[in-house]
Amino acid sequence: MSTTATTDINHPDGDGSHGEPPLITGNLSFHEITDLVSTHTEKKTPPLWYVAFGLATSITGLLFLMIAYLFWNGTGVWGLNNPVGWGWAIVNFVFWVGIGHAGTLISAILFLFRQKWRTSINRAAEAMTLFAVMCALVFPTIHVGRVWAVYWMLPIPNQMEMWPQFKSPLLWDVFAVSSYFLVSLVFWYVGLVPDLATLRDRTKKIWRQRVLGFLSLGWTGANRHWRNYEKCYLLLAALATPLVLSVHSVVSFDFAVSIIPGWHTTIFPPYFVAGAIFSGFAMVQTLMIIARKVYNLENIITISHIERMNIVIVLTGSMVGFAYITEFFIAWYSGVQYEQYAFLNRMFGPYAWAYWTMMFCNLFFPQFFWSKKLRTNIGFTFFASIIVNIGMWFERFVITVTSLHRDYLPSSWDYYTPTIVDILTFVGTFGLFFTLFLLFLRWVPMVAIAEVKGVMPKADPHYYEDHEGDGMAGDHIPHVKPAS
């Protein structure tokens, strides 16, 4: 039973001890993993957290101030005008929804594809998704002219028998984004249950026990619980997977369904989804590179994780770049002068700076990740993740604004400049995002403890057959030797 060949056949997905590098380094025991993650929710709040949290809530306050100013005066406080009816608000909405893509992709799609490396990052990535979608939802809510009537977008029965207009992509958006948010929330919460129970079991404080006891839904770790849990998780993953693809496809319909040159493009759904994964992974990189350092999680979120994510980034970045070039080809090939002009105007018109920023950040810069040296370099990866997010913001800006500012009738052409309110509102959503993320880091296990344990070499029932005498077997981990 102890030949390598047999083990490989039985455990083909790399348990870390047979050829492939281990997913979790440092030869940590299960208990050490639990300790490493749980301690951050249990120890006294570090002063640095307060500093960061104070900063983030201040910026959130700025967001609410800007929203109050907007509500008081009207959408005119933004830089919008007659041809450009959508500006930064919609750009920011698409940007945040895009960021909110990575989490569920990592937890659902990669789960279905048995990508075990996802376990180290999926919890934080899913949290990021939820918070990013919350930031995104701010914008369509506040960008309408009569915000007090925004609920008319919802299909609420009323005495007029007046329903929303189901042909409008904006309505599809309402459904797509809200269902994505709800499913992601449920998926995230279900994944949290075993870990919340772990925290419950560790704590000695009575209120903490009660709250965690309530939230962990009576989890005891029983076999039956695990069995139900795994089934449920699998089903939710299967449910979330199409939503990952649908939500950004629907967001892209806001543009693709219109008849404006530069918007009216059938390539938009796949191109938007690729772009969303691209930006989502970049945001995960940005956050996790900081978190693994600050919270000493280098062994759980390893270089190998970062490298894998960089590979996704270079892949999706190239897909997005390919889409940019395809759009140009199709504009030329269509023979429609308005379409051709729209794309030439992007390249050489008044917003050429935005276009070339986008091309540099999204198409050119990620190509550095072809080099293994660069994609395993933490500093460079961090820098690149910021660049990619800037580029993806500009992509949405280019699509939204350059198409609108010069469409069919040259007489109506104009220029769009954001106001300080536009800018501060966007900055404010980062405050909201980081406020929520800091709360997450403080109160919720930021790594899926149970799942990480599941991909560790020690989770393999045969592990101890191969590692007898390494000083760990039988020490404090109950080890049941399989019947031979």
């Binding site: 919008l80 009816g85 009537a149 977008m153 904006l170 008849i259 404006i260 009738l409 007489s411």
Partner: protein
């Protein structure tokens, strides 16, 4: 103020039995009546406002006056108010009444039909029965309704700048009348055609034998009148029949601009001569020779740009070619010019169907020369009718004004009466009227505002608006009309005839009696019946001037103007929007884009690209904003600084400036405070002082009495500074897009479908004609909501004939007035947030090699009311939907303002309320609002509705009368105002309607039809008739 005692000391003491408060022993012992001797605790006035009323009284008075102000908001010309249970006869709430009246305009009357809603005049149209207007109107008639409700109008009589009253003025006039025979008085009056004013002038001249009566127009002498005098020796007024003409030549004459006194007739007859129902029709040819691009120039088939000062020579050259008698030894400079030669050949060929017209910038000699050319063509009696106004020979006002100012300075003038004029503002700077006026002991200013002149005069009488006062006058053709008021004067204002009666007779007579007294001589037969008929019809039929066929006696041998090769001329013109300043406090006019420059809320120095380059100035376009270099213009030691504006096709070395800007009007309104969280003050055009405050620069002072129209030899310097100039159209070139389609008449004859076939269907796709049409399934008659509703029987559509449209922009103001469209101000227009529902897109079109002299075309763009409306399918709340009668409607109270519809509109006709622009309207301006149209609030989209309120009103009327709608029962506001008939609107289910006929025209095209929007508004392509001999001639 009322001086009520707030607390009676004795009563207060008697009430206060229980406790007695005292300060000292003496205080305790002394009698209450001695209390006033005690030292007050506070300084007098420290605890209450100085003056009569205490704070408490002030609040009481304010409360009472607010209540009264509320009552005064419903005004009709009756003095007693009564509840509507006994409603005034004929007034039905919600049903407007129409009254015929007339607007005095530059010395003539424009006959109007005014809509009144519950006693409030709200909308002005031309009188459809009147021989001149025939139901159409111009910018100024349309906009004059807002002048009535101008919140900055003066409200009380002022004497030495202090509030006074009419009785005090009557006392003053009676005082003046005592010993009147020796008094020197002068009257400076705007041009007027009123018989009553004539009669009162006679009365005044009788009372004051030394009366000096000067007719003063800010734009200077009337060269047309003087030219006629020169040519014929009598006061004749030419009336041009452009519809009869084959060849029309305009020499700097902008006869198609609403500025022209006969604009409505000119535009209508010009368009009539160019209507093409099929390619077999013929059309007239218009040559325009002009310095600045004008509305007329944009309609021209061949346009020559030439400095205004050179045009006299050019006219002479044409006359020489035509061998006109009396023109000798002139025009040598242009005899060889291909345009002069070709114009002459064409005119000779046209013979009596040719006509030449000279403009206001040209000296009388040019007008006389043009009269001579018309005479030699035998055009008089055919394309030209000469009306004999039977007025005395016009005096040159420049000479009279010099005399007047010297009289004012040497103190020989006892009184100066100024009626409807503003000489301090618009007289040439060298006369320095402002310093002479205070030297006159008694100066009386009768005007709508306490303007530049009013604030320096010893008396200011608020002048009634023509909708508030009785009056009379003559239309351009001499037809007599009575001006009848629709509303009692809103303030203590008086009409000019009431003031003249006070001055001439010392009597306080009502304008009604004065006009009736004068008309007793005019009306033959039964006076009351005749008078009522005149009031009802709005004019006295058959009272036109007599037309005459006089003989000409004119010789000219010397050019009236000379200009050096490199001299820069400055041409002063009335402004296309604010005229001479009369309309500068009118927010609609200020926000109307100039038909040529598209500039709003500013006046600019217009020049050609080459002149700008030579001067080293330009307009910088940066991030959607135009920053113009400011130049200083110096003529005869007067200097004015103005931003430049570049118009291709402008004559080189010529600068056009317009009058009417740089006003300094006071306002009595309290301005709202600025709150850091509140942008209302910023978005409110009425919150920066008077509307005209800070708008543009006054250029009137640059002129001299002899160079009122054109000044030669200006010194132009760049100041190095720039300023933001706002325009509604950033981009002036079509980029090769087939939005505006035109052809020459030869091309049209060879290929009548040039417009419809301008866009090729792309290979592969199915033709868009085969796409489903509106309601192919689920017709409204089958829908439960509409099944009892006959609206679907009419299907509305509009056709705009680009061959008729001149781009004059009257439709924009008509639409603004009808549909309660708010004004947003310069900054907000600069951000691209103007709200006009119909706009005129102006494009330059140049032929190769002739880029310096491009054509200018204007295209009116209302909502297209697409059958496949892209806006409708994207609205998430169904706030924009199709009506059963086939129009695309905005449901304001359903709209939540996502702006998706505006983004998805390929024609960009949708307008968004970024702020609550209607919230800050002063109460007076609120009275202009049409009660049948929703006043939009913040956050909703709006756009052209095809005047749905008019459609519904006609529907209801037809329903009550159990009839069906006939063609012409519904006119949209733009259509009704348009004198050229370029806009045709009607029911396409009615086979006999005009719109169906127009839709069958072979020039018809749908803009952006390739998007399969199936627009209900379509266009007829323009056909030009250029002279083939001038093709390729670069000028």
């Amino acid at each position: 103020m009322i001086d009520l005692p707030v607390i009676d000391v004795d009563t207060a003491k008697a009430d206060d039995k229980k406790f007695k408060f005292w300060r000292s022993q003496a205080d305790l012992e002394q009698d209450a009546s001695m209390l006033h001797l005690a030292h007050p605790e506070f300084m007098p006035g420290a605890d209450e406002a100085p003056g009569g009323a205490s704070r408490r009284q002030f609040i009481q008075l304010m409360g009472a006056s607010m209540a009264l102000a509320g009552l005064s908001s419903c005004r009709r010309p009756v003095e007693n108010i009564m509840p509507f249970v006994d409603k005034p006869e004929e007034v039905i709430p919600g049903i407007p009444m129409y009254y015929a009246t007339s607007m005095p305009y530059r010395g003539i009357l424009q006959n109007l039909l005014v809509e009144s809603n519950e006693g409030r005049p709200t909308k002005i149209e031309g009188n459809p029965d009147h021989p001149v207007t025939k139901g159409s109107s111009g910018i100024f008639e349309q906009a004059s309704i807002l002048n009535l409700y101008d919140p900055d109008r003066s409200k009380v009589v002022l004497h030495n700048q202090a509030a006074s009253d009419w009785n005090a003025f009557l006392d003053f006039s009676r005082e003046l009348l005592r010993g009147s025979s020796s008094r020197q008085i002068a009257v400076l009056c705007e041009p007027t055609s009123s018989p009553t004013v004539q009669a009162l002038r006679g009365q005044l001249a009788q009372a004051f034998p030394q009366l000096k009566w000067i007719t003063y127009a800010p734009e200077g002498n009337d060269p047309g009148l003087m030219g006629m005098q020169m040519a014929y020796g009598r006061s004749l007024r030419p009336w041009y029949h452009y519809d009869q003409a084959d060849v029309i030549v305009s020499f700097d004459a902008d006869f198609l601009s609403p500025i022209d006194r006969n604009f409505v007739h000119n535009a209508r007859s010009f368009a009539a001569g160019r209507k093409l129902s099929s390619s077999n029709d013929s059309m007239s040819r218009l040559y325009a020779v002009e310095s600045a691009y004008s509305v007329t120039g944009s309609s021209a088939d061949n346009r020559l740009r030439l400095r205004s000062s050179e045009i006299a020579d050019f006219v002479a050259a044409v006359a020489v070619h035509l061998e006109v008698e009396g023109v000798n030894g002139m025009g040598a400079a242009f005899v060889d010019h291909p345009y002069a030669r070709e114009i002459a050949i064409d005119l000779r060929r046209a013979g009596s169907s040719g006509v030449v017209v000279a403009g206001d910038t040209q000296p009388p000699e040019v007008h006389a020369m043009c009269a001579a050319i018309n005479q030699s063509l035998n055009a008089v009696g055919n394309t030209v009718t000469l009306f004999d106004t039977e007025e005395p020979a016009p005096a040159a006002q420049s000479e009279e004004l010099r005399g007047l100012v010297s009289d004012m300075r040497n103190g020989s003038l006892d009184a100066l009466i100024m009626i409807g004029v503003n000489p301090v503002y618009d007289l040439p700077g060298e006369l320095d009227f402002a310093s002479a006026l205070p030297l006159v002991e008694n100066s009386v200013h009768v005007g709508a505002h306490i303007d530049e002149t009013g604030s320096l005069s010893s008396w200011h009488i608020p002048r009634s608006h023509y909708l508030e006062a009785w009056g009379d006058g003559r239309a351009f053709d001499g037809t007599l009309s009575v001006i009848q008021p629709l509303i009692a004067p809103m303030y203590e204002s008086k009409s000019e005839i009431e003031v003249l009666q006070a001055l001439g007779a010392g009597l306080d007579s009502s304008g009604y009696d004065l006009v009736r007294a004068r008309w007793a001589d005019v009306i033959t037969g039964d006076f009351e019946a005749g008078w009522n008929k005149v009031l009802h019809d709005g004019f006295l039929p058959g009272s036109q001037f007599n037309s005459v066929l006089p003989s000409i006696n004119f010789t000219a041998s010397q050019s009236p103007l000379s200009i050096g090769e490199n001299d820069i001329e400055v041409v002063f013109q009335l402004d296309n929007k604010v005229l001479d300043g009369r309309f500068s406090n009118n927010a609609w006019c200020q926000e109307l884009p100039d038909p040529v420059t598209k500039v709003v809320w500013d006046n600019v120095a217009v020049m050609s690209p080459k002149t700008a380059e030579d001067l080293g100035v330009g307009v910088q376009y940066k991030e959607g904003k135009h920053y113009s270099d400011i130049i200083s213009l110096t003529i005869n030691n007067s200097t004015v600084e103005l931003p430049v504006w570049i118009v291709p096709g402008h004559a080189d070395k010529s600068i056009k400036v317009t009058l009417g800007y740089g006003r300094e009007l006071p306002t009595e309104r309290t301005l709202r405070g600025k709150h850091i969280f509140d942008l209302d003050h910023y978005t409110d055009v009425y919150n920066k002082g008077a509307v005209s405050t800070g708008v543009g620069v006054n250029v009137a002072g640059l002129r001299t009495p002899t160079t009122m129209k054109v000044a030669v030899g200006a010194n132009v310097q760049a100041t190095g500074r720039k300023m933001l100039v706002v325009t509604t159209q950033d981009h002036g070139y079509l980029e090769g897009r087939p939005m505006y389609r035109m052809a020459t008449i030869e091309e049209y004859k060879a290929y009548p479908e040039f417009a419809a076939k301008a866009v090729k269907t792309l290979p592969g796709g199915e033709p868009w004609e085969e796409y489903p049409t509106l309601w192919e399934e689920d017709h409204p008659s089958a829908q439960p909501a509409f099944k009892d509703n006959p609206y679907h029987e009419n299907q509305w559509a509009m056709v705009i004939d680009l061959n008729s449209c001149t781009g004059c922009s009257t439709c924009m103001i008509a639409c603004q007035s009808e549909n309660n469209i708010q004004v947003v101000g310069k900054d907000e227009v600069g951000r691209g947030r103007e709200l006009h529902w119909i706009r005129l897109d102006r494009y330059y079109v140049s032929e190769e090699g002739n880029e310096d002299n491009p054509m200018m075309v204007s295209q009116p763009i209302p909502c297209m009311h697409c059958e496949n409306a892209p806006c409708e399918s994207v609205c998430p709340v169904a706030a924009t939907v199709h009506s059963p009668d086939g129009t695309n409607q905005m449901i304001y109270n359903r709209c939540i303002g996502t702006r998706y519809c505006a983004n998805n509109c390929p024609y960009k006709v949708r307008r968004f309320n970024f702020f609550n622009w209607s919230k800050t309207l002063p109460v007076e301006v609120q009275m202009t609002q049409n009660p049948n149209v929703t006043v939009r609030s913040r956050g909703v989209m709006e756009k052209c509705s095809f005047c749905i309120q008019r459609i519904r009103r006609a529907n209801i009327k037809a329903n009550i009368e159990k009839t069906t709608l006939k063609d012409g029962d519904v006119l949209t506001a733009c259509q009704q105002a348009c004198p050229t008939g370029a806009i045709v609107f009607g029911d396409i289910n009615n086979a006999a309607s005009k719109v169906v006929e127009y839709r069958k025209n072979d020039r018809r095209y749908n803009m952006l039809a390739e998007l399969n929007t199936k627009p209900r508004t379509s266009y007829l392509g323009r056909v030009r008739n250029p002279n083939p001999e001038l093709e390729g001639v670069t000028v």
